[in-house]
Amino acid sequence: MGALEAKKIHVGYSQHLIIEDLSITIPAQKITTIIGPNGCGKSTLIKTLARILKTKAGTVYLDGKEIHNLDTREVARKMAVLPQTAQAPGGLTVFELVSYGRFPHRSSMGMLKAEDYDYIHWAIEVTGLGDLKDRSISALSGGQRQRVWIAVALAQGTDILVLDEPTTYLDLAHQLEILLLLERLNKAENRTIVMVLHDLNHASRFSDYLIAMKDGKVIKEGTPSDVMTCEVLREVFNIDAQLAPCPFSAHPICFSYQLCKDVEYVYR
């Protein structure tokens, strides 16, 4: 049984269905990354898994239970979500914003307990925000803000993390820091991580499981070696990729690529 499962889901905005009849299983305690071209529905899929979008048909299961029948606060204690376009009121301090990650755990009085402080401080430390703790959000760079939002999700202290493009706005080193942090959370604490990444090489290097999507459908899913193949990349991205094993993870990475000239031909 997976940590998250989607069975025959249909999702869309008003009239237009973006995902039709899609089923996937997110393996527990693994890092799973959804890849695909712009507009392929990967964000829609991850929002649906995170119960931000409702399905028109079909069901998402969290630990085997229908997610929409569970108390949403209970879900928030098991699964944290980082939306793609999170924006906070600029005057909040880093600490204040991260402290809202404890919302699902707090009593009705809403006072922070010692345990809450531990989680908040830990989340701030591991995202490298210790020095910026009392800074207001409006004074931060895009990359720093992104790390604050990751800290909010971490402070939630959940077994499952759902992240929609956690490395956007970050420079190379910070991208890697975040991914290494997620890897550490997965390896050391067995947390389940599901994310959308644009960088194929990061996706391959850090994931145990890849889901390649196009036009709202899953084209291929499996280990990075199953998915990062010339055929799959050609079909999903219309590229001819040159692949080689990553020196750090041994998963395939793409060191260069060319647009397919014979796309039409390949499809017929």
Partner: protein, 344 residues
């Protein structure tokens, strides 16, 4: 070590401490403003007489009668109206992340005033306990039309677009109200709502709106933490396990009750709900558990003083309170609009 940790926590959560001072000090200042407002006016009455009127009421003294029958309900009415507008504005701003949200700017007040005109035209002599219900429904009507028009556009509900829709709808509804007033010859009755400000407030009005006000404030405070979470954005709020649909629905009802109650006393006064929440955020931070009570105090203070000014500028005539508040509100609005409607 323990002490150091304590200190650390105080530092991290310092704004509530400041908030406590502001709200506490605010009540004292409000009380002072109220005493001042009761004693000053077309006929000045010294503080000692105010004191004795409140605590040793003597119906044979004219000054005591003025204080009891006119000034006190008026000042309390002004304070309540200020609370209502300011709290409804802060809830709207928090829930919709729209820094230009205000019951006046988004058409709620004009809607409430319109249905009040309808009520006066078709159900003259209806008891105030029922009149106020018209006001609530009218506020809902105004909000629905404005949001309906605002969401026609493809690029969605931007703060400025909503305010434009609010201005257009308010203009239309005010014109209709005036039309009704002329046709049914109830201009006299309505003038009290449009220009008279809080001068017509009587104990009987306060008796009706106070329970509504208290209920709405209690719900607002219960809801305040959820409003803070919602102010982080809908998707974040859902991710944190908030029942956003329910919070928005209850919040909207609270906003309609507060705005409707206030309009039924003072008429369609704009800008209180715009200015005060911003001021509160500057003072107490971004947590609505603090913003809402701070807005209540500051809103009350603003309207009590505005009403006092309305009486003092050109006695014995009254300057319209809406115009006085607009003197502050319009520049503030322009400043906010120039900032591009960012919530900070």
């Amino acid at each position: 070590m323990e002490a150091q940790q304590q200190l650390q926590r105080v530092k991290e959560t310092a704004r509530p401490v400041i908030g406590l001072w502001i709200i506490g000090g605010g009540w004292v200042a409000l009380l002072g403003a109220c005493v001042l407002a009761v004693s000053l006016g077309a006929a000045d009455i010294d503080f000692k007489t105010v004191w004795s009127a409140v605590f040793q009421f003597n119906p044979e003294r004219q000054e005591h009668l003025i204080i009891w029958e006119l000034r006190l309900p008026r000042v309390i009415g002004a304070a309540l109206v200020g609370c209502c507008f300011a709290v409804s504005g802060s809830i709207m701003q928090g829930m919709t992340r729209n820094p230009l949200a205000d019951s006046g700017l988004l058409g709620l007040n004009a809607g409430a005033a319109f249905l009040l005109a309808v009520c006066f035209a078709f159900f003259p002599g209806l008891s105030y306990a029922y009149v106020i219900l018209f006001s609530f429904v009218g506020a809902a009507l105004g909000a629905t039309i404005v949001y309906g028009i605002g969401s026609w556009s493809k690029s969605g509900l931007t703060p400025i677009r909503l305010v434009l829709a609010g201005a257009a709808v308010s203009a239309l509804l005010s014109a209709l109200s005036e039309g009704i007033a002329l046709h049914f010859d109830i201009g006299q009755d309505l003038a009290f709502w449009y220009a008279g400000g809080v001068s017509g407030t009587r104990w009987s009005h306060l008796q009706v709106i106070t329970p509504w006000f208290i209920m709405a404030m209690i719900v607002a405070m219960i809801l305040s933490r959820s409003i803070t979470i919602l102010s982080l954005g809908e998707e974040v709020a859902i991710g944190l396990g908030e029942k956003t649909g329910r919070v928005k629905l209850i919040g909207a009802v609270v906003v309609l009750v507060l705005a409707g109650a206030a309009v039924s006393v003072v008429g369609a006064v704009s800008f209180v709900g715009l200015i005060v929440p911003h001021l509160s955020r500057k003072l107490v931070g971004y947590d609505y558990r603090w913003i809402i009570p701070a807005s209540a105090v500051l809103g009350a203070w603003l309207v009590v003083l505005a009403d006092l000014a309305a009486r003092l500028i050109n006695p014995p005539y009254e300057t319209p309170i809406g115009a006085l508040i607009a003197l502050l509100g319009v520049p503030f609005f322009l400043y906010m609009a120039r900032k591009g409607g960012k919530l900070s």
